[in-house]
Protein backbone atom coordinates (compact mmCIF):
# COMPACT_ATOMS: atom_id res chain seq x y z
CA UNK A 1 0.00 0.00 0.00
CA UNK A 2 1.03 3.59 -0.34
CA UNK A 3 2.35 5.41 2.74
CA UNK A 4 -0.58 7.82 2.32
CA UNK A 5 -2.92 4.89 3.05
CA UNK A 6 -1.09 4.33 6.36
CA UNK A 7 -1.66 7.98 7.14
CA UNK A 8 -5.39 7.50 6.55
CA UNK A 9 -5.63 4.18 8.41
CA UNK A 10 -4.24 5.51 11.70
CA UNK A 11 -5.24 9.13 11.23
CA UNK A 12 -1.62 10.21 11.35
CA UNK A 13 0.07 13.52 10.98
CA UNK A 14 2.94 13.66 8.47
CA UNK A 15 5.99 15.21 10.12
CA UNK A 16 8.56 14.96 7.35
CA UNK A 17 9.25 13.77 3.81
CA UNK A 18 5.77 14.55 2.54
CA UNK A 19 7.08 14.01 -0.98
CA UNK A 20 7.37 10.27 -0.32
CA UNK A 21 3.74 9.58 0.58
CA UNK A 22 3.04 7.79 -2.68
CA UNK A 23 5.90 5.31 -2.10
CA UNK A 24 4.74 1.69 -1.80
CA UNK A 25 5.35 -0.39 1.33
CA UNK A 26 4.23 -3.96 1.98
CA UNK A 27 5.06 -4.96 5.53
CA UNK A 28 5.64 -3.50 8.96
CA UNK A 29 7.17 -4.31 12.33
CA UNK A 30 6.45 -2.89 15.76
CA UNK A 31 8.93 -2.53 18.63
CA UNK A 32 10.09 -0.20 21.35
CA UNK A 33 13.47 -1.92 21.68
CA UNK A 34 15.74 -0.94 18.82
CA UNK A 35 17.93 -4.02 19.43
CA UNK A 36 14.88 -6.14 18.58
CA UNK A 37 14.44 -4.25 15.33
CA UNK A 38 18.13 -4.81 14.54
CA UNK A 39 17.89 -8.51 15.40
CA UNK A 40 14.54 -9.55 13.97
CA UNK A 41 13.51 -7.25 11.16
CA UNK A 42 14.07 -8.60 7.66
CA UNK A 43 12.59 -6.43 4.95
CA UNK A 44 9.76 -4.60 6.65
CA UNK A 45 9.62 -1.05 5.36
CA UNK A 46 7.54 0.42 8.18
CA UNK A 47 8.49 0.66 11.86
CA UNK A 48 5.72 1.29 14.38
CA UNK A 49 7.15 2.46 17.70
CA UNK A 50 6.45 4.32 20.91
CA UNK A 51 10.11 5.24 21.26
CA UNK A 52 11.00 8.75 20.20
CA UNK A 53 14.72 9.52 19.99
CA UNK A 54 17.31 9.91 17.21
CA UNK A 55 18.28 6.24 17.48
CA UNK A 56 14.87 5.30 16.11
CA UNK A 57 15.79 7.06 12.87
CA UNK A 58 19.33 5.63 12.89
CA UNK A 59 17.96 2.12 13.42
CA UNK A 60 15.47 2.66 10.60
CA UNK A 61 18.28 3.84 8.35
CA UNK A 62 20.45 0.78 9.16
CA UNK A 63 17.53 -1.55 8.33
CA UNK A 64 16.43 0.31 5.17
CA UNK A 65 13.11 1.13 6.84
CA UNK A 66 11.36 3.87 4.86
CA UNK A 67 8.63 5.01 7.22
CA UNK A 68 8.49 5.41 11.01
CA UNK A 69 5.07 5.64 12.65
CA UNK A 70 5.17 7.07 16.17
CA UNK A 71 2.25 6.02 18.34
CA UNK A 72 0.70 7.54 21.48
CA UNK A 73 1.05 11.00 19.98
CA UNK A 74 4.84 11.06 20.41
CA UNK A 75 6.35 14.30 19.11
CA UNK A 76 9.91 14.16 17.77
CA UNK A 77 12.17 17.18 18.23
CA UNK A 78 13.94 19.09 15.45
CA UNK A 79 17.09 16.95 15.70
CA UNK A 80 15.11 13.79 15.01
CA UNK A 81 13.17 15.28 12.11
CA UNK A 82 16.30 16.76 10.54
CA UNK A 83 17.99 13.37 10.65
CA UNK A 84 14.93 11.71 9.11
CA UNK A 85 14.74 14.36 6.42
CA UNK A 86 18.37 13.82 5.37
CA UNK A 87 17.83 10.07 5.31
CA UNK A 88 14.55 10.37 3.39
CA UNK A 89 12.60 8.53 6.06
CA UNK A 90 8.94 9.49 6.38
CA UNK A 91 7.95 10.20 10.00
CA UNK A 92 4.29 9.93 11.00
CA UNK A 93 2.62 10.51 14.35
CA UNK A 94 -0.68 8.98 15.45
CA UNK A 95 -2.71 9.38 18.63
CA UNK A 96 -3.50 5.67 18.69
CA UNK A 97 -1.76 3.31 21.07
CA UNK A 98 0.55 0.62 19.74
CA UNK A 99 -1.94 -2.27 19.72
CA UNK A 100 -4.70 -0.32 18.01
CA UNK A 101 -2.35 1.25 15.48
CA UNK A 102 -0.99 -2.19 14.53
CA UNK A 103 -4.51 -3.62 14.31
CA UNK A 104 -5.67 -0.83 12.05
CA UNK A 105 -2.66 -1.24 9.76
CA UNK A 106 -3.06 -5.02 9.62
CA UNK A 107 -6.74 -4.64 8.77
CA UNK A 108 -5.85 -2.12 6.09
CA UNK A 109 -3.73 -4.79 4.43
CA UNK A 110 -0.20 -4.25 5.71
CA UNK A 111 1.48 -7.60 6.49
CA UNK A 112 4.03 -8.48 9.15
CA UNK A 113 6.42 -10.12 6.75
CA UNK A 114 7.60 -13.40 8.25
CA UNK A 115 5.32 -15.12 10.74
CA UNK A 116 7.65 -16.33 13.48
CA UNK A 117 11.24 -15.77 14.45
Amino acid sequence: MKISEIVDAVNAEVLCCKDKLSDEVFSACAADMMSDVLAFVKDQAVLVTGLCNPQVIRTAEMMDIRCVLLVRNKRPDAVILELAETKGIVVLSSRHRMFIACGLLYTAGLSGGEHCV
Partner: protein, 143 residues
Protein backbone atom coordinates in the same frame (compact mmCIF):
# COMPACT_ATOMS: atom_id res chain seq x y z
CA UNK B 1 49.47 -7.65 0.98
CA UNK B 2 50.76 -5.26 -1.71
CA UNK B 3 48.38 -4.32 -4.48
CA UNK B 4 45.26 -4.85 -2.40
CA UNK B 5 42.91 -1.88 -2.67
CA UNK B 6 41.67 -0.56 0.62
CA UNK B 7 39.55 2.36 1.75
CA UNK B 8 40.26 3.17 5.38
CA UNK B 9 37.86 5.18 7.54
CA UNK B 10 38.43 6.28 11.11
CA UNK B 11 35.99 7.69 13.61
CA UNK B 12 36.06 8.93 17.15
CA UNK B 13 32.99 7.59 18.90
CA UNK B 14 31.96 10.03 21.59
CA UNK B 15 29.62 9.13 24.40
CA UNK B 16 28.90 12.74 25.29
CA UNK B 17 25.57 12.86 23.61
CA UNK B 18 23.46 9.82 22.91
CA UNK B 19 21.85 11.53 19.92
CA UNK B 20 25.06 11.27 17.91
CA UNK B 21 25.63 7.58 18.72
CA UNK B 22 25.55 5.63 15.48
CA UNK B 23 26.82 8.46 13.29
CA UNK B 24 30.01 6.52 12.44
CA UNK B 25 27.98 3.49 11.34
CA UNK B 26 25.73 5.78 9.36
CA UNK B 27 28.74 7.26 7.52
CA UNK B 28 30.09 3.78 6.79
CA UNK B 29 26.75 2.65 5.44
CA UNK B 30 26.56 5.67 3.15
CA UNK B 31 30.09 5.00 1.90
CA UNK B 32 29.41 1.31 1.22
CA UNK B 33 26.25 2.17 -0.72
CA UNK B 34 28.22 4.70 -2.80
CA UNK B 35 30.77 2.01 -3.57
CA UNK B 36 27.95 -0.06 -5.05
CA UNK B 37 28.15 -2.91 -2.54
CA UNK B 38 24.98 -5.00 -2.48
CA UNK B 39 22.33 -4.03 0.05
CA UNK B 40 22.46 -7.31 2.00
CA UNK B 41 26.18 -6.97 2.69
CA UNK B 42 25.79 -3.27 3.45
CA UNK B 43 23.09 -4.04 5.97
CA UNK B 44 25.18 -6.74 7.70
CA UNK B 45 28.05 -4.29 8.16
CA UNK B 46 25.66 -1.55 9.29
CA UNK B 47 23.94 -3.72 11.92
CA UNK B 48 27.16 -5.17 13.35
CA UNK B 49 28.92 -1.84 13.52
CA UNK B 50 25.92 0.06 14.87
CA UNK B 51 25.38 -2.39 17.75
CA UNK B 52 29.12 -2.22 18.50
CA UNK B 53 29.13 1.56 18.33
CA UNK B 54 26.14 1.76 20.67
CA UNK B 55 27.95 -0.59 23.07
CA UNK B 56 30.98 1.70 23.13
CA UNK B 57 28.70 4.60 23.96
CA UNK B 58 26.57 2.95 26.64
CA UNK B 59 29.09 0.60 28.25
CA UNK B 60 32.50 2.19 27.65
CA UNK B 61 32.32 6.01 27.40
CA UNK B 62 33.16 5.96 23.70
CA UNK B 63 36.21 4.86 21.74
CA UNK B 64 37.64 4.56 18.27
CA UNK B 65 36.20 2.87 15.20
CA UNK B 66 38.33 1.87 12.22
CA UNK B 67 36.79 0.45 9.07
CA UNK B 68 38.76 -0.98 6.17
CA UNK B 69 36.92 -1.70 2.95
CA UNK B 70 38.65 -4.21 0.67
CA UNK B 71 37.45 -5.71 -2.61
CA UNK B 72 36.24 -8.88 -0.96
CA UNK B 73 35.56 -7.89 2.66
CA UNK B 74 34.98 -5.16 5.21
CA UNK B 75 37.00 -5.17 8.43
CA UNK B 76 35.73 -3.28 11.46
CA UNK B 77 37.76 -2.60 14.58
CA UNK B 78 36.04 -1.08 17.60
CA UNK B 79 38.44 -0.14 20.40
CA UNK B 80 37.58 1.41 23.73
CA UNK B 81 39.19 2.02 27.10
CA UNK B 82 36.08 1.21 29.06
CA UNK B 83 35.64 -1.22 31.95
CA UNK B 84 36.20 -4.32 29.79
CA UNK B 85 34.06 -7.46 29.66
CA UNK B 86 34.66 -9.80 32.59
CA UNK B 87 33.28 -12.99 30.99
CA UNK B 88 32.99 -12.84 27.21
CA UNK B 89 31.11 -16.16 26.92
CA UNK B 90 28.44 -14.88 29.28
CA UNK B 91 28.27 -11.49 27.54
CA UNK B 92 27.69 -13.25 24.21
CA UNK B 93 24.52 -14.95 25.47
CA UNK B 94 21.23 -13.62 24.08
CA UNK B 95 19.47 -11.57 26.69
CA UNK B 96 22.48 -10.99 28.93
CA UNK B 97 22.84 -7.33 29.73
CA UNK B 98 24.29 -5.16 32.45
CA UNK B 99 22.61 -2.06 30.99
CA UNK B 100 20.70 -0.01 33.56
CA UNK B 101 17.02 0.85 33.21
CA UNK B 102 17.67 4.32 31.75
CA UNK B 103 19.47 2.71 28.80
CA UNK B 104 16.53 0.37 28.20
CA UNK B 105 14.27 3.41 28.09
CA UNK B 106 16.38 4.58 25.14
CA UNK B 107 15.64 1.37 23.20
CA UNK B 108 18.85 -0.56 23.92
CA UNK B 109 20.07 -2.90 26.64
CA UNK B 110 18.10 -6.00 25.64
CA UNK B 111 21.26 -8.11 25.55
CA UNK B 112 20.91 -8.75 21.83
CA UNK B 113 23.81 -6.66 20.57
CA UNK B 114 26.84 -8.97 20.77
CA UNK B 115 24.97 -12.07 19.48
CA UNK B 116 23.56 -10.00 16.62
CA UNK B 117 27.05 -8.69 15.79
CA UNK B 118 28.25 -12.29 15.63
CA UNK B 119 25.30 -13.28 13.44
CA UNK B 120 25.93 -10.52 10.93
CA UNK B 121 29.66 -11.04 10.55
CA UNK B 122 31.75 -13.87 9.15
CA UNK B 123 34.43 -13.49 11.79
CA UNK B 124 34.32 -11.81 15.17
CA UNK B 125 36.95 -11.71 17.88
CA UNK B 126 36.76 -9.93 21.21
CA UNK B 127 39.80 -8.91 23.21
CA UNK B 128 38.94 -7.54 26.58
CA UNK B 129 40.65 -6.93 29.88
CA UNK B 130 38.91 -5.73 33.00
CA UNK B 131 39.88 -2.14 33.70
CA UNK B 132 41.82 -1.78 30.44
CA UNK B 133 39.23 -1.86 27.68
CA UNK B 134 37.70 -3.84 24.87
CA UNK B 135 38.64 -4.27 21.23
CA UNK B 136 36.29 -6.06 18.86
CA UNK B 137 37.47 -7.22 15.42
CA UNK B 138 34.79 -8.08 12.89
CA UNK B 139 34.99 -9.15 9.25
CA UNK B 140 32.12 -9.21 6.78
CA UNK B 141 32.82 -10.96 3.48
CA UNK B 142 31.42 -9.24 0.44
CA UNK B 143 29.32 -11.43 -1.82
Amino acid sequence: MSGENCVRLEFNVSSENFASAGSASEAVKTRLKLLGINSRDVRRVAIAMYEGEINMVIHAKGGKATVEIYNDRVEIILADRGPGIADIDVAMKEGYSTAPEDIRALGFGAGMGLPNMKKNTDEMRIESNAGVGTTIYMTVKLT
